[in-house]
């Protein structure tokens, strides 16, 4: 029963054939394996969600907030959703989420994983294969929240990408981005160590020249009529195998090195003037 329904759904939502389903199933397993290739991303995810949650909770403080579904009534766009790791978490917290990725494989992985869990949880979650620019041209709706996490360092034309993102958001909507700073330490840690020596992330994942500094980022956003809410460092502790946000009481923050490597930021689109 379930099986038939699943295949039907799959066929209706995409054009891939049955052999491809099992192929994607194994890739999906690989992508969603918390101990696999994307382990770092899996471990980073709770920290990113907690940041998004705290910023949005602060912003929506006035309206009564449902603690178990804090993103209720929010239309959220997850740009560069990959296998849907962040999208699912946001949807589980009540958001109405659209996950978008340019890669066909990624979108199929995300769709399949959602179908698997559809037996158990009913999430308001959809996926579309597109780039931000394509979406901008076709999508008629605007979003309350946009997340572009760990994506901008893979984009060639950052200005165009950011412009598209801002265009997709309602006035006074919130945008979240996370990326890696362009500093000697980020070069050493994220490329030399994590990628080349320790193989924590697949080789070739990152290119140093594509990294963007917080100053550059803020400048770009200001040009696009956005004002910054908060820039926060994210740091990986290899001893605990755990990511955490750099808080104001941390040593790194106090010496001003909190954004030295990984950072996550939030900004608000200004009202139209």
């Amino acid at each position: 029963m379930h099986f038939v329904r699943m295949i039907k759904r799959f066929q209706s939502s995409s054009t891939i054939n049955k052999e491809e389903i099992s192929k994607f199933a194994s890739i999906s397993n690989e992508w969603w394996d918390p101990k696999g290739k994307f382990e770092m991303l899996h471990r980073m995810n709770p920290v990113r969600v907690s940041y998004i949650r705290s910023i949005l909770e602060e912003k929506l403080r006035a309206t009564s907030l449902n603690k178990s579904k804090p993103f209720e009534n929010l239309r959220i766009l997850d740009i560069g959703c990959g296998g849907g790791l962040l999208s699912e978490s946001l949807a589980r917290l009540g958001g109405s989420v659209l996950g978008v990725d340019a890669g066909e494989e990624q979108i199929n992985i995300a769709k399949l994983h959602k179908l698997k869990n559809k037996f158990h949880e009913n999430l308001d979650l959809n996926y579309v294969q597109a780039s931000a620019e394509q979406l901008c041209e076709t999508e008629y709706e605007k979003f309350d929240v946009l997340c572009g996490l760990e994506i901008i360092e893979h984009v060639d034309d950052k200005s165009l990408f950011l412009k598209s993102c801002v265009d997709l958001v309602k006035p006074e909507g919130t945008l979240f981005f996370s990326t890696i700073n362009r500093t000697p330490s980020s070069n050493f840690l994220t490329i030399f160590l994590a990628q080349n020596v320790l193989n924590w992330v697949p080789r070739g994942t990152h290119e140093f020249s594509k990294y963007i500094t917080p100053v550059e980022f803020e400048k770009e956003l200001n040009l696009l009529n956005c004002e910054k809410i908060q820039f926060t460092g994210m740091i990986f502790n290899p001893m605990l195998n755990k990511w955490s946000l750099v808080s104001k009481s941390d040593f790194l923050y106090q010496i001003g090195s909190d954004l030295e490597v990984n950072y996550i930021l939030s900004c608000q689109k200004k009202k139209q003037n």
């Binding site: 099986f3 099992s22 199933a25 918390p34 101990k35 899996h42 709770p46 178990s68 946001l90 698997k116």
Partner: protein, 507 residues
């Protein structure tokens, strides 16, 4: 076709839950309360499966049920946090402010006082009359509470939660189907004896020492059985006491914990064969049965250890292995009765006390220990002692808490407290994960619980085991060891810093 899909076809699932807890003992119940009490978890479906009737009125009559637990202040904080402590009737909580620990020769002793008690002790001095009510201390060493009282208070707590918890009462788990193939394909399926089939994002085993959840998850439990048994019971003693006593004997520690009035709770560790013999004798319904048990008990509490060893060897002589207690002949019964009558338990005990008094020059340390006057009917029970710790407390979509994860020598009375600490930690980790929208069944989320609790439990388990080895297993011919222990206890008693550390570990 795809493995996942075919597997789904084989089992029709009636309902899915986010969290399914097997076992509604204090540990399982407290976890349900911790999760259900949080605002962040609304909308998460939680269920509890219990094989016995947990909802029937657990209100007790005046006699104490045999299972009491010692709740440390830290566990009390947790029970307060989940809203259970206020549901425990005040008159059912018996705090004690002091533990007196003795060695087998009464040469060494150590006192663990609560901070409050220590400050006031000087003014009270030794002239203070024995009071029946504990001094109004807000920081006792621990609280003695009946197991059933904690359980019914937790049930009451669950009923008042904002997040409803579904209880499958009187329901056994028939089968647990886990997806062992890959990492997170399928949620565990639980088949109930009612015919219902449920599925859960996370399956939690709070189902005791022989945890079916642990076995289904194929998590190895490492440990050994002691050659000893535990005997628990409720006693009526000579005077009121608000002090707990523990005496280390070569045959195992014996402890008295104060309940109300003249009642105290017994926790006694003794060799397995002696314990079995005592229970077998009880079954024979002999005339002197109760008196014999009482005399042996008092000997264990107050006499030189040689007297107890003498009684034990006499008891061992009764059963040369030929008597089948399950199906005993009248002749054998008579023989045993005659042999027992030949031992004058009362005389031997009193003589031993006199000997001890004269040896110690009139200063009788044992006087502080109360004399057992009566044993509350049907309160005595025995159980085998074992030490177990699982290789891990988690698996994918599986977590183990309390006795399902570890069991401990009852010498320090820490079993339940460790279990409650597990509940607190796992509950906290799960609430955090739910707050972040995580799929909290995945083992990398549960890892935080495992790494937090594993080391702490291991420390407690092994220190109790080491205590047991030092105090109990030392061969009697090595007097030097015992004297060292006495010396150790006495010096320990003078080292406040060390005592505080020990106490911190105990709580």
């Amino acid at each position: 076709m795809h493995k996942l899909l075919t597997r789904r076809l084989s089992t029709a699932v009636d309902k899915t839950y986010d969290i399914c807890i097997v076992g509604a003992g204090p540990v399982g119940l407290s976890l349900a309360a911790k999760i259900g009490n949080s605002h962040y978890t609304n909308g998460n479906k939680i269920c509890l499966i219990e094989s016995s009737d947990v909802l029937k009125s657990l209100e007790e009559n005046d006699t104490f049920s045999n299972r009491v637990v010692s709740v440390t202040p830290k566990s009390r904080l947790f029970l307060e946090e989940i809203g259970c402590w206020n549901n425990i009737p005040e008159e059912k909580v018996y705090p004690y402010n002091k533990i007196q620990v003795f060695d087998s020769n009464f040469k060494g002793s150590i006192n663990f006082n609560s901070r409050y008690d220590e400050e006031t002790e000087v003014s009270k001095a030794s002239t203070a009359p024995k009071e029946c009510t504990p001094s109004s201390s807000y920081d006792p060493v621990a609280y003695i509470i009946e197991n059933n009282v904690i359980r019914s208070s937790l049930i009451k707590t669950l009923k008042n939660l904002n997040n409803e918890i579904e209880i499958f009462n009187n329901t056994k788990v028939n089968e647990i189907i886990l997806d062992k193939g890959s990492f997170n394909d399928e949620w565990p399926i639980i088949k109930l004896d009612s015919g219902k089939v449920i599925q859960a994002r996370l399956l939690i085993g709070a189902d005791g020492q022989n945890s079916p959840v642990r076995m289904a998850a194929n998590i190895e439990s490492i440990g050994w059985d002691y050659d000893q048994s535990g005997i628990v019971g409720t006693l009526k003693v000579s005077g009121c006491s608000t002090v707990a006593f523990q005496r280390f004997l070569p045959t195992g520690p014996i402890a008295l914990l104060p309940l109300k009035d003249k009642y105290m709770s017994l926790v006694w560790t003794l060799p397995k064969n002696i314990s079995n013999l005592l229970f077998n004798l009880k079954k024979l319904n002999l005339k002197n049965d109760k008196m014999i048990f009482k005399e042996i008990l008092n000997t264990a509490l107050k006499n030189p250890k040689e007297d107890l060893l003498y009684f034990f060897s006499e008891l061992e002589k009764l059963n040369d292995g030929k008597i089948n207690f399950q199906n005993i002949s009248e002749a054998d019964k008579l023989k045993i009765e005659l042999e027992l009558n030949a031992i004058d338990f009362k005389f031997e005990r009193e003589w031993g006390i006199k000997r001890l008094d004269s040896e110690q020059g009139g200063i009788s340390v044992h006087d502080t220990i109360p004399v057992v006057e009566d044993i509350v009917k049907n309160s005595v029970a025995g159980f085998p002692l074992r030490l177990r710790n699982c290789r891990t407390y988690i698996g994918n979509r599986i977590a183990l808490i309390g006795d399902a994860a570890h069991s401990i020598h009852p010498l320090a009375g820490q079993g339940l407290n460790l279990g409650l600490a597990d509940s607190e930690a796992l509950g906290r980790v799960l609430i955090k994960a739910i707050k972040n929208g995580d799929d909290f069944g995945l083992d990398y989320i549960l890892e935080e619980y495992n790494s937090e609790r594993y080391i702490k439990n291991l420390l407690m388990i092994s220190s109790c085991d080491i205590l047991e080895k030092v105090f109990v297993k030392v061969p009697s011919q090595f007097r030097i060891f015992e004297d060292l222990i006495s010396f150790g206890l006495n010096s320990l008693n003078k080292m406040d810093v060390l005592k505080e550390t020990l106490k911190k570990y105990a709580s």
